[in-house]
Amino acid sequence: MNNTIIRFENVTKSYDDGTVVLKNINFELERGKFYTLLGPSGCGKTTILRIIAGFTDASTGDVFFNGKRMNDVPANERQVNTVFQDYALFPHLNVFENVAFGLRIKKVKETEINDRVQEALKFVNLAGYGNREISEMSGGQRQRVAIARAIVNDPEVILLDEPLSALDLKLRTEMQYELRELQQRLGKTFIFVTHDQEEALAMSDEIFVLSNGEIKQSGTPVDIYDEPINRFVADFIGESNIVDGLMIEDYKVRFAGKEFECVDGGMKPNEKIDVVIRPEDLEITTPENGKLIVTVDTQLFRGVHYELSTYDQDGNEWLVHSLKKADVGAEIGLDFDPEAIHVMRLNETEADFDKRLEAYGDEDYE
């Protein structure tokens, strides 16, 4: 059985004024998974959702739903429901009627409407709130109403456009758990949009990292975190140290004025590359034992760890997350494993990246 529910084939979107918003987007989404579109504001995330929902057309390319081309299917006939960024709840209807809206349109029987709305409200922990006006609900509650309004229609796919961005940090973290759990209970396909990398990493089965209307990289949160394809992704997904380097030969890389052993390969000899080392992979040690010798510039206590900003002799900044404290102004050594060094070719496509990774990547890794 084919498990693909949505497929984009060479989808582009440009507006009359000449702005190109999406450039050749291709992806396949499987039934029942939690997908996240991650990228900075303005990169085209909402546009992708709007094309799936049918609020706007792709300029070129095809969109398939369950194997059928759906470019020309109007929004109200698509098996998709959206949780809008601003929730878009109807202010003239109470909570119950907001949730019942889709069912009333489908002319579902009154008793069934009642049952299904109550069930949906229970699902989002809003049982008993049916008679409230929308204006009487808090931000978090409104967001749940919006989710209930989408799931009550039993769609195959639920689109969520930054639904948590308006909530405060504590509520947001809480809702992240709830949404993830909800998706697993329902077994529906969720397409979740966010510009918050932590949110994406915490919730998704698969992440699409977007920038300037292009998918830069897709994969599981672990894949993307550990093996970012380029400077943009590395920088966007979590804090990282990115420096220029030279790939001397396979498994041998030069940066910060020294040569290091590493686990990457498949580049040309002496190819210019970017090197990424995550702050948590750097360990503080004495200058004699350190692979890098750096001076501590600032130190912040972050609750669980200290965040140190340090500089080496070449002036590269190295962020370090350490459980140990250091002295500001002191010279310290930084130690790391060969696996901590991640090498990125400049301008490598995702397909080439995957191929190279298969050949050279993780054998002696993990």
Binding site: A53, A75, N76, A88, H92, L93, E97, G102, I105
Partner: protein, 272 residues
Amino acid sequence: MGTKIMNKTAKGPLIPYIFWILLFVIAPIALIVYYSVLDLNGNFTLTNYAKFFTPVYLKMTLSSFWYAFLITLFTLLFAYPTAYLLTKTKHKQLWLMLIIIPSWINLLLKTYAFIGIFGLYGPINAMIEVFGFNPKQILFTDFSFVFVSVYIFIPFMIIPIFNSLDKMNPSLIYAARDLGASSWTTFRRVIFPLTIDGVKSGIQVTFIPALSLFMITRLIAGNQVITLGTAIEQQFLVSQNWGMGSTIAVFLILFMVLTMLFTRQKSKGGRV
């Protein structure tokens, strides 16, 4: 002590307002009510009120309501789609401006313009003749009266509807479509209920003045249309029966108040 000061500061600025209301609202109404209970010789009487409930005046009332209703209906039917299209245009404020500007031109001027346009030697009849028909009497018909009135009131209806449409969150329309609503259902269940306040204000500013029209009625409809407005004019200027004229005015004010109550805006809505 605190309340004393509060009272003083709260009431001070109200004095000009109260004065204004007394002079320009309360006093004229009191005068009208006073005249309405006087007969031709200045003696107290209720015959004017009794006369109002005779078939002649009741028919006139009905006719006033009927024309005001027709004018409001056609104005609304034209203004709503226009306002809707306006909100979709690129330079909507400019377009709105272009529609509002004619309403600043003197009413009498516009009415006279229509006399020219609709007249036997006007452009419309010239057109009719081009197509080989005999000139038609357009002026002094109830059609031309309703037409001109609708034309006059359209901007006043468009403004509040435009504002309420413009204020509406556009993602609500997407939400309705997303939940399976066709364009028509979206309009019926979301757009219209959310702009009902604008429609009500529009009805207020059209229906109430339309109820008391007399100048357009006289100039465009001649004596084809007789309403409360023309009756008041008749009583004051021709019959010199100020008592009867005031009585009709009292009822007109009453009808206006009722209309306002009827189109009052509720802050909350109910079910679909």
